[in-house]
């Protein structure tokens, strides 16, 4: 870098770099051969990976009985469905629907809240930077995985057998499956904090508990709050589903009305759900942005 600076350059300096590079092409290729060709391994990857994906996708389509003809044949039925839905009408059951929708919202709210409250303390046990003991944090983590791998719908079927049909089973189901998801998300958020704040607390003579309380919690709380709100948004949508197995909410009406082909009411109910979800999304997005200070959180 210490060569002398020539001061001769004028506007003609533009293009000088490419001219020099062209003149020295042979030299550059000799000095950096690897920059001018794809390595055989990379070349193979570029061709083989997409081919493998296409092959697996094709195989899966054959195995799962994909058929364009069946879609085309069914298309007319889909059209008839759409016609029967027009115009959407509550046909006198608006308040029944409204009550059920309120129940769905209640399930989503209580389920998310319970899951978050239970998962918050346990998540610290699963964080490597809080509990260095591998048996504890690894064990907690696998426990979260097991709970999470069972879908909300399955949890609902189980809880219905324990506490009977109705929204209470729905809340328990939602709390269970989200407990697993929250545990994983929270502990990852805790691990993603950098240790500088905790180090500062430790250096001032703080205990482990102090380090967690003042070094970690203020950093992760906004992230966790934002994740909980996001889950409340999605749970409002998925709470409509668990009603189908009898765990409360609008789901039961949806299944029944589709079965008896009351499609105008189905259309109306779907519109009601749409509006509710949009309102929840709007409020929750605002809250989340306010909490995290307009910064994007992964």
């Amino acid at each position: 870098m210490s060569e002398s600076f020539s001061t001769s350059a004028g506007p003609s300096g533009r293009g000088r770099l490419s001219a020099a590079a062209r003149a020295d092409l042979a030299g550059l290729k000799a000095r950096h051969p690897e920059a001018f060709r794809l390595s055989p391994r990379n070349r193979a990857m570029v061709i083989l990976v997409p081919l493998a994906i296409i092959a697996v996708a094709f195989g899966a389509m054959v195995a799962l009985d994909f058929s364009l003809i069946r879609i085309l044949n069914g298309l007319s039925r889909l059209g008839r469905f759409a016609v029967l839905m027009m115009p959407p009408a509550p046909e006198g059951r608006f308040f029944v629907f409204l009550g059920a929708l309120g129940e769905t919202l209640g399930i989503a709210f209580l389920g998310t809240l319970t899951a978050a409250l239970l998962a918050f303390p346990v998540a610290f046990l699963a964080a490597r930077n809080v509990i260095p003991n591998i048996f504890v944090h690894f064990g907690t983590r696998r426990a979260f995985d097991v709970i999470r791998s069972v879908d909300t719908l399955i949890w609902a079927l189980m809880w219905i057998n324990v506490v009977g049909l109705g929204p209470f089973a729905g809340v328990l189901a939602m709390a269970c499956s989200d407990f697993g998801s929250f545990g994983k998300l929270f502990s990852e958020a805790i691990e993603a904090t950098d240790g500088k704040a905790s180090e500062g607390i430790a250096a001032s003579g703080g205990s482990r508990v102090h380090q967690v309380r003042f070094g970690l919690v203020p950093g992760v709380l906004p992230v966790i709050a934002s994740q909980v709100l996001y889950y409340f948004e999605t749970n409002t949508r998925s709470a409509t589903i668990i009603g189908i197995v009898g765990a409360g909410g609008v789901g039961i009406y949806l299944t029944e009305l589709i079965r008896v082909l009351e499609l105008k009411q189905v259309a109306f109910l779907i519109l009601m759900i749409l509006v509710t979800v949009a309102i929840i999304d709007f409020i929750s997005t605002r809250l989340r942005l306010a909490i995290i200070g307009n910064k994007k959180i992964v």
Partner: protein
């Protein structure tokens, strides 16, 4: 010749830059100094059109920069390269590809999206890297490099644009003293060797005096000083920086040796 005529930019009714008029001759090395929030970054970003001026006009030779859009705007951006404090490289891409980003404007889109770079473009990128002694890192991922190396990659990316001007927005603010010198020398070399105009935001008055032909002092969005580095007296500097100027001009705080902070503007070299 870059001419700014009464350029202003407001953010939510707060003026970041107000009524700046300047003309900058081709081939000069201009330092823009002033405290944080004085509008230095906004000024630079308006020249590259990353930020649009609220009023006023920017012209380069016979191009009205403020009126460009689409293809013409991208062409203009390729002609005035930008260098950032945080380097703004693509961390997950290798160094060579990062440098080749500087050729995007000259390569057909289909080719560049498929990363089918011509031999000539590769040669240009490597030649630029060689000038900063980092051609050996071409295959490494950008985020595996040190800050000084990353900034040199960013300068190489700017250089392969073969621009008329390079806008450097506090290029050395995240670097240690040794890398500061390496990076500033690289900018000076580009300026002298290729005749590329360099406009550089700086915090350190020492560096500004060492490297620049001309200094522009900004305060609260306006130009309050414009002249040769020798004209920047201590009084002027105090106006620019407030009380910290005395400390900023000295190598070490003499009167209060126990106060560790020299203020954010002093970079020891």
């Amino acid at each position: 010749m870059l001419v700014l005529d009464d350029v202003s930019r407001r953010f939510n009714n707060k003026a970041a830059v107000s009524g700046v008029s300047l003309s900058i001759a081709g081939g000069s090395f201009v330092g823009v100094i002033g405290r944080s929030g004085a509008g230095k970054s906004t000024l630079l970003r308006m020249i590259n059109r990353l930020v649009d001026p609220t009023s006023g006009s920017i012209r380069f030779d016979d191009v009205d920069v403020t009126r460009l859009d689409g293809r013409a705007l991208r062409d203009w951006r390729a002609r005035c390269a930008m260098i950032f404090q945080q380097f703004n490289l693509v961390g997950r891409l290798d160094v060579l590809t990062n440098v080749l980003m500087g050729r995007l404007n000259k390569v057909p889109t289909a080719r560049s999206l498929l990363r089918l770079w011509s031999e000539e473009d590769r040669a240009i990128a490597l030649s630029a890297l060689e000038q900063f002694d980092i051609a050996g890192l071409a295959a490494q991922r950008a985020d595996s490099l040190s800050g000084g190396q990353q900034q040199r990659v960013a300068i190489a990316r700017a250089l392969v644009q073969e621009p008329d001007a390079i806008l450097a927005d506090e290029p050395i603010a995240s670097l240690d003293p040794r890398n500061t010198k390496v990076v500033m020398d690289a900018l000076l070399r580009i300026n002298r060797h290729y005749g590329i105009t360099v406009i550089c935001n700086l915090h350190s008055l020492d560096l500004a005096r060492t490297y620049c032909d001309r200094l522009i002092g900004m305060s609260a969005g306006s130009v309050v000083f414009d002249g040769a580095p020798e004209m920047l007296t201590e009084d002027v500097a105090r106006d620019l920086y407030g009380l910290e100027a005395g400390e900023a001009l000295e190598a070490a705080p003499a009167r209060e040796p126990r106060s560790a902070a020299v203020g954010p503007y002093a970079v020891a070299v």
